[in-house]
């Protein structure tokens, strides 16, 4: 019997994925570097801060072996400036932008970096330093909601003002959800909503609803679609579509 889960990821699964993010911890005791599947960690040497995956950081935090220093965007100033951007009349239509993308790696001239073979271009959710203390203070990374929630639940004493941060996070979430919902009004078979800068949890949250609508719209339009396909098939049989058939043959041979 199949699991009765909706398509896509559940919130706890998104939260689990978020735990691979690196956060900055301030260790309270020494620890040698660990060989983890995600790569080796730096050895911990108090009071020098070190980046660790969130799950390990939370584990150490629970054992009182480390403090987590929250990323700059998860501060009262950072969040309030983002909230201001979200609620400003001039930018009310768009989501606050995601963090700036790093330069693609790759050698040779700067112009053909995009084309070169060994060039790597990173994009969310695989940006380095999106949640360490070196992250940008004015942009929400892909896992902002999950990370903020996890840190505020397990490491609220490492925040200057956890209650205000919590309130700002909730405000941001509400503002952005309402924007997303506003976007759904225009959903149509051919229409789209621009979702630049939307976080992982938000995507997971609306996936069921949007997926359902788009699927429903597809079903409604199915008769039209089918008739179109039939017509095409007919045309093909009539010999008009022979060229395209030929192309298919070529592809097969390749």
């Amino acid at each position: 019997m199949a699991l009765p889960l909706p398509p896509g990821l559940t919130p706890s699964e998104v939260g689990f994925l978020c735990e691979m993010e690196l956060v900055t911890v301030i260790p309270r005791q020494r620890l040698e570097g660990l060989e983890l599947l995600g790569g080796p960690t730096q050895s911990l040497n108090p009071p020098f801060p070190a980046p660790l995956p969130l799950w390990l950081a939370l584990l150490l935090k629970r054992q009182k072996r480390a403090n987590i220093s929250p990323p700059p965007w998860l501060s009262v100033e950072g969040l309030s400036s983002i909230l201001q951007f979200e609620t400003d009349n001039r930018t009310a239509e768009v989501f606050s932008p995601a963090p700036a993308l790093p330069q693609p790696t790759g050698f040779g001239s700067r112009h053909d970096a995009y084309l070169s073979q060994d060039s790597l271009e990173f994009s969310p959710p695989f940006l380095a330093d999106s949640s360490t203390t070196r992250s940008q203070s004015n942009a929400l990374p892909y896992h902002w909601l999950e990370l903020g929630h996890l840190l505020l639940t397990h490491a609220s004493d490492d925040f200057d003002d956890p209650d205000t941060v919590r309130r700002l996070l909730r405000d941001l979430r509400e503002v952005r959800m309402s924007k997303l919902r506003k976007g759904f009004k225009v959903l149509d078979a051919g229409a789209g909503v621009k979702m630049n800068g939307v976080g992982g949890m938000e995507v997971a949250e609306v996936r069921g609803f949007v997926g359902g609508i788009v699927d429903g719209l597809r079903k409604i339009n199915r008769s039209r679609e089918e008739s179109r396909k039939e017509r095409e098939a007919e045309e093909r049989e009539n010999g008009l579509g022979s060229s395209s058939y030929q192309d298919d043959e070529d592809d097969m041979q390749l």
Binding site: I26, R28, Q29, R30, P46, P47, F48, P49, R65, R110
Partner: protein
């Protein structure tokens, strides 16, 4: 004298207010009727009268040139004192004006009315207005602090709101709850915050009818003047030097207090009406007040004779809990420096007042200081017989007056990593191992030592009856030092963190009269510099190893790392009257002097902020310009030079120009500068302990790249960063090479040295690649870069040749191969090229 309590009927019966001009020449009173009166000081003549259109005046404030008068109809009018006529209507509100305050420079006037907002108007240009709006109800009183940068607004909701005017937009700094009482707008009782003349505190009438002092730095309640009044306080005034305080109550009482002891000196019972406004004359022993019956009293010789001398002493400090300055005066250190305080921490605002006071003192001449009971009020000791002292003192002062006495400015001793008192706590030591802080509990201190590594060490805490004021902390133990007191001489106290015997902490007492000026602790020794000019070195278990007189004294500070001890002292005087700082580095175990009395390189006007050894054991300094420098080649006498590692003014985070922050140095470790970021003009870190931040070194080779993202700039940035990297890695290489050559270096250190050597060549290779890409015409420079390579193995030049080939610079590649060949057979030595 007998008739001095004659009231001067200034105005129609009803509330009247007054204000002295800052020079004390004139006294202005306002009242219910439509006339202002301008009294001349020291004159029995009838006052000048300015007839005005408004009546029912509730507020007046005067500068030397003009007065501002606020009336019930909501207008604030400016009258000239030069012509005694109206100049302009400065500002108008819809409701009655309650209070006016003028900033000390006379530029701004704060106006409190029954409207919700307080307006701060420029007195020269009335179109420039700032609004203070954070308080929810009308303000009853406003007052400027001594610097004019802050306004305390006493609101009718029972809170004092402190605004800062230093920014374009006034900002609410603090909301002080539980200080003043909720009062009606028209109440006779007052809730006005009155700033103490030293600028560190203000005081306001509390709901318990006391006069409560509030510190400016942390807005905590300090000492209070208690039990003087049975009714609410209606007016209060500090004497111009802050030594005396007068308060008046609605129960028709008038009380004179001594600030230092908060003792009631005299209670006057000859007041028949409620006093509404009160001011001391700026220089004389005269108090003037107006009451709610329209009368003015000018009471000459107000402070009784036995207390009158308190009016003539220098500026007194506001009474605070756990005041560090009290401790200092206990040491009876004379102010031997011009303008520099004994504790070495000059606060903003002090200079201003001291400047004023100095002027006042020089005008008044010799008999200004009259310390006839020997109580030490005056700084200059005058313990001779009274008559003799006077006859000498008079002419002497006159002779001294014309030519100012020249005095060199010396650097005050400081303890690296410590902060001054703020509130009742301070850090004694803050480094990468942990931190030591102390809390003043009046009779004793409590010292807490906390570590970053809680597994390795356990935090501890003890009660400290000796009042330790210096501390050092490292992995092995903690060292404390305390100044001498009446019970004991100066003491050094060392407490190891762990022992395998029973506790082995030890104390050692310094000879009488000798004070510790700085201490330092390393893995193998303890160093203390003293006021007697000695450097005392002990082993970790208290064995005195050696002691010698420091060549340059008085000592400024000392630091140590393993067996190396660096002492800094005041050397010869330079052209700007300040002494040059000289340092000496010696190895205690080998008894070798590495650098003797070498100059600590600081440009003009720049002061030393901190000295410490880096993690690898190289001396570093941090100066007041925010530049971090490291000492290169210091193990060879005469070779040492200071190399900048980082200029914090060129950091990227400051590039936007929006941030105003400074950096408090903590350490240099892991090739990074560890510091605490201080925001908003703070000078020292405070509680809760701020997080450490770290910055990569960046030698200020070229100006920081600006934000333009065009192609040429990007190229330049790459090249600049490579060049910087080259200089930095060759510096690191030379530091580690010195270490390897001069000490019994470990294998890892030797490996690191060769690694760094390779690193230098790698950076050069990258630079070469940049040059090759730029074009054929840059070949000469490329070849020069190739010759810079140390290249012990010969592989680097080979690689350089390959790089040149890849960019098809054939001639260059050929020349590089030639160079490599000549090197191989030893034809090129260092002096050639």
């Amino acid at each position: 004298m007998a008739n001095r309590l004659r009231a001067r009927p200034a105005h129609a019966p009803g509330p009247a207010y007054l204000s002295y001009t800052p020079n004390g020449k004139k006294l202005v009173t306002v009242g219910l009727n439509g006339a202002l009166r301008v009294f001349q000081h020291d004159s029995e003549d009838e006052p000048a009268v300015i007839d005005v259109l408004t009546d029912n005046h509730f507020a007046v404030a005067a500068t030397i040139e003009f007065i501002l008068v606020g009336a019930e109809d909501g207008s604030v009018t400016k009258y000239s004192l030069l012509t005694n006529s109206m100049e302009e209507m400065l500002v108008r509100s819809s409701l009655p004006v309650r209070d006016i305050a003028i900033s000390p420079d006379g530029q701004w006037a704060a106006v409190a009315s029954d409207e919700l907002e307080v307006k701060v108007v420029n007195t020269q240009d009335m179109t420039r207005v700032m609004y203070l709006r954070e308080h929810p109800r009308p303000a009853k009183h406003v007052s400027f602090d001594i610097s004019g940068a802050m306004v305390a607004v006493s609101c009718t909701d029972g809170l004092v709101y402190v605004y800062s005017l230093s920014s374009e937009q006034p900002q609410l700094v603090k909301r002080i709850d539980g200080l003043i009482k909720m009062l009606d707008n028209e109440a006779e009782a007052s809730s006005k915050a009155v700033w103490h003349p030293d600028g560190r505190a203000f005081a306001a009438p509390s709901s318990t009818r006391d006069f409560q002092v509030v510190a400016r730095n942390d807005w905590k309640l300090q000492k209070a003047f208690r039990g003087g009044h049975r009714g609410d306080i209606s007016a209060a005034a500090w004497s111009p030097n802050g030594a005396l305080l007068v308060t008046a109550g609605v129960d028709k009482s008038l009380v004179l207090w001594e600030t230092r002891s908060q003792k009631m000196l005299k209670s006057f019972d000859d007041v028949h009406n409620v006093i509404l406004a009160m001011q001391w004359h700026p220089t004389d022993n005269v108090l003037s007040y107006t009451n709610n019956n329209g009368e003015l009293f000018i009471r000459e010789n107000f402070a009784p004779n036995e207390h009158a001398k308190l009016l003539k002493i220098a500026l007194q400090h506001a009474p605070m809990n756990g005041d560090p300055l009290n401790d200092i005066s206990g040491n009876a250190r004379k102010p031997m420096l011009n303008g520099v305080k004994p504790n070495g921490h000059v606060r903003s605002g002090d200079d201003y007042i001291e400047g004023l006071l100095d002027d006042a003192m020089s005008q008044d001449g010799a008999d200004f200081i009259e310390d006839d009971d020997g109580a030490g009020y005056a700084e200059e000791p005058n313990r001779n017989g009274k008559r003799v002292a006077r006859s000498i003192e008079g002419p002497q002062a006159k002779r001294q007056a014309p030519g100012p006495v020249w005095q060199p400015q010396i650097h005050e001793p400081f303890q690296p990593g410590s902060t001054p008192w703020k509130g009742n706590r301070r850090y004694l030591c803050l480094n990468l191992t942990g931190f030591v802080w102390t809390v003043n509990q009046e009779t004793h201190n409590t010292v807490t030592v906390e570590f970053y590594d809680r597994q390795e060490h356990r935090d501890f805490h003890f009660t400290d009856p000796y009042m330790y004021d210096k501390a050092c902390l490292n992995e092995k133990g903690t060292l404390f030092a305390c100044p001498a007191s009446s019970h004991h001489p100066a003491i050094l106290y060392y407490r190891p963190h762990e022992t395998w015997t029973s506790r082995t902490d030890w104390r050692t007492e310094l000879p009488k009269g000798e004070e510790v000026s700085s201490i330092s602790l390393s893995d193998s020794c303890i160093v203390a510099t003293t006021t007697a000019g000695y450097v005392r070195i002990y082993s970790l278990f208290g064995v005195p190893l050696k002691m010698y007189r420091q060549k340059s004294s008085p000592a400024v500070t000392c630091v140590s790392w393993r067996d190396y001890v660096m002492t800094v002292g005041n050397g010869p005087v330079g052209g700007d009257e300040t002494t040059r700082l000289l340092y000496t580095i010696e190895n205690v175990k080998r008894d070798e002097i590495c650098q003797s009395e070498d100059i600590l390189a600081l440009p003009d006007g720049v002061e030393l902020k901190s000295v410490f050894f880096s993690e690898k054991g190289d001396p570093c300094i941090y100066d007041s310009d925010g530049v971090l420098l490291i000492l290169q080649h210091w193990r060879t006498p005469g070779q040492a030079k200071w190399v900048p590692l980082l200029d914090t003014r060129t950091l990227d985070r400051l590039a936007s120009g929006k941030k105003e922050e400074s950096y408090w140095p903590v350490a240099v470790a892991n090739n990074k500068f560890h510091c605490i970021i201080l925001k908003g003009g703070e000078e020292y870190p405070y509680f809760p302990r701020p997080l450490l931040s770290d910055f990569e070194f960046r030698i200020p080779i070229s100006s920081a790249p600006n934000g333009d993202e065009d192609e040429i700039n990007a190229d330049n940035t790459l090249q600049n960063s490579l060049e910087e990297k080259y200089v930095q890695s060759s510096l690191q290489y030379s530091l580690i090479q010195d270490l390897v050559e001069n000490t019994n270096a470990t294998q890892t250190q030797k490996l690191e040295a060769t690694g760094l050597e390779r690193e230098v060549d790698k950076v050069l290779l990258q630079l070469l690649a940049v040059e090759c890409r730029e074009g054929e015409e840059r070949g000469m420079k490329a070849l020069e870069i190739a010759t810079l390579m140390k290249d012990r193995t010969g592989k680097m030049l080979e690689a350089a040749g390959k790089v040149a080939q890849r960019f098809q610079r054939d001639i260059l590649s050929e020349k590089i191969t030639q160079l490599a060949e000549r090197r191989l057979v030893g034809l090129v030595d260092d002096d050639e090229v």
